[in-house]
Amino acid sequence: MAKNELDTRFSEFGTVSFAAVTRVNDFIGNLENGKLTGTRCVKCGKTFFPPRAQCCECLAAEMEWFEVTGEGELVSYSTLQYAPTGFTDEVPYTIALVDYGDYKVFGRIDGSVPQEDLSVGMKLKAAVARTSNGRLTYVFERSQVK
């Protein structure tokens, strides 16, 4: 990247992004590498999702990335049949909050999961994906039954 050029990678996130420049832009690079990531404070060990560059617990500004892996539990969800400007072509879609224990993750449930199969408390896992307009995102999928 040329000197004085702003890192605007965050503008690639989601169907419509409302932010471009952030200190956690490596989140986008990690998505490109197939990893959904949060940050962990190097000094006090607190984990953050969504990732942040600075720690409000201990005031440190040194973070390391960790990957969101394994199963989380569906806290709640809603399927939108009506959408804000910029998203009207995508309805219906389902937004959700998933609890991983140390942190929670907000996102969308993959369209392949039938709405009637959804229930609070079910296990889901996160995966990197592309939006309908080809941009970077992540979705929650059903855990594979072993």
Binding site: T15, V16, P50, S76, T79, L80, P84, L97
Partner: protein, 390 residues
């Protein structure tokens, strides 16, 4: 601060789908009612706090043009914003300005013109009151966030879509009586399942169109005064007995639960403590029913019902005018419409009229304490204010 602070004037414009004028003209409508109500001159007002949600305004820093239009120069004026609870925050500021002795009389103006945007655009703007970096890219909007709360409440406590619809039925019962409300038709439970009715139309599961309030244009105006001024100008001043305000993480990922609003609960705790009363002492309440689930959670967060038992209150009609704790007997946001910045002031106006015994058809019998619960964003800003009479 032990200084008594009163409210001596209240005003509200009609809340309408489309106001045929500008923000300053819309504000004038509630200003005129409040000034007439208080019987004061412009020069009696020491300062104005102007409140709205700025994403709707083309006018930057609206306090300036509004103070000018109302003839309130050279008194200080400034802007306050907490999304849908902006005018409750304005009232909190006015309270502290008067209680501190800095000013004797402060006006709180709330307004919003929403009709210049389409409904989808409006969802996008309001959605940006949530976390634009980490949530908005998924296509979020206020009804969907509240729908997630409804889903969580249903899963945890067994609340049903019909329980929520009952809240809309109550709202419409009183909205019909409110000449300032946008929606004045009756609503029945059957309409929610009648394909011919818009009320059952899908929005964001499990919320249906009938669970949501409408955008509106409107303004409200409150005149806040020191005890000395209040006694001099008002035959029946209504006193601010308790003020509570709290915040919660914007991002849903930061919330401990979705089955209630922690910021509302904390604000209520503060307000009850300051007033020296409990939920059982409240005789009439205005709660922020932007969605039916919001009113149900308010019953529980304010202590009118135990967690999970909000549905029992509405099923037994205990929040109707003649029930144990009348809630939103002016029709609430669900009937009045929700011109963001004006809503808190409108709620306060209803409670002031109730406590004065001037509420007409919706008058609750001899209330002593009234409460206003006004929420900004999806439980992001919680504001609870308690009012009482001598």
């Amino acid at each position: 601060m032990n200084n008594k602070v009163g409210i001596i004037g209240v005003g509200q414009s009609a809340f309408v789908r489309t106001y045929p004028g500008s923000i300053r003209e819309l504000v004038f409508e509630s200003f005129r009612e409040a000034m007439t109500d208080a019987g004061i001159a412009r020069t009696d007002i020491d300062a104005t706090v102007v409140c709205s949600a700025p994403e709707y305004d083309k006018q930057r820093s609206p306090a300036g043009v509004i103070a000018e239009y109302l003839g309130l120069n050279p008194q200080p004026t400034f802007y306050a914003e907490t999304l849908c609870s902006s005018s409750s925050t304005g009232l909190r500021l006015a309270y502290s300005l008067v209680a501190s002795g800095l000013h004797d009389m402060v006006m709180v103006i709330g307004f919003q013109i929403m009709s210049q945007l389409t409904s989808n655009e409006s969802q996008e703007r309001m959605g940006r009151g949530a976390d634009i970096q980490w949530e908005s890219p998924f296509g979020t909007m206020m009804p969907a966030y509240y729908a997630m709360h409804a889903q969580a409440h249903m899963a945890k406590y067994g609340t049903t879509p019909e329980d929520l619809a009952l809240i809309r039925v109550k709202a419409a019962t009183y909205g019909q009586l409110n000449p300032l409300a946008v929606y004045r038709k009756p609503v029945t439970l059957e309409q929610f399942t009648d394909p011919a009715s818009f009320l059952g139309g899908p929005v964001a599961t499990p919320l249906r169109a009938g669970d949501c309030c409408a955008n509106a244009d409107g303004s409200s105006c409150l005149i806040v005064a020191s005890e000395e001024k209040a006694r001099a100008f008002s035959k029946k001043p209504v006193w601010i007995k308790g003020v509570g305000a709290a915040s919660a993480p914007v991002n849903m990922a930061g919330r401990a639960r979705l089955s209630g609003l922690d910021a509302a609960e904390e604000a209520a705790r503060q307000a009850y403590k300051m007033a020296g009363i409990t939920a059982a002492d409240i005789n009439v309440a205005e709660v922020h029913d932007c969605f039916t689930i919001a009113e149900l959670m308010a019953y529980e967060n304010l202590g009118f019902a135990k967690p999970g038992e909000g549905r029992d209150l509405i099923r037994a009609k205990e929040t109707y005018k003649d029930g144990k704790i009348p809630v939103n007997v002016d029709g609430g946001l669900l009937s009045k419409g929700h011109p963001i910045g004006a809503t808190g002031g409108s709620q306060v106006r209803t409670i002031v009229l109730q406590l004065r015994g001037e509420a007409g058809e919706i008058q609750v019998k001899d209330p002593v304490f009234g409460l206003v619960h006004n929420i900004g964003g999806v439980g992001l800003y919680g504001n609870v204010t308690i009012f009482g009479v001598d």
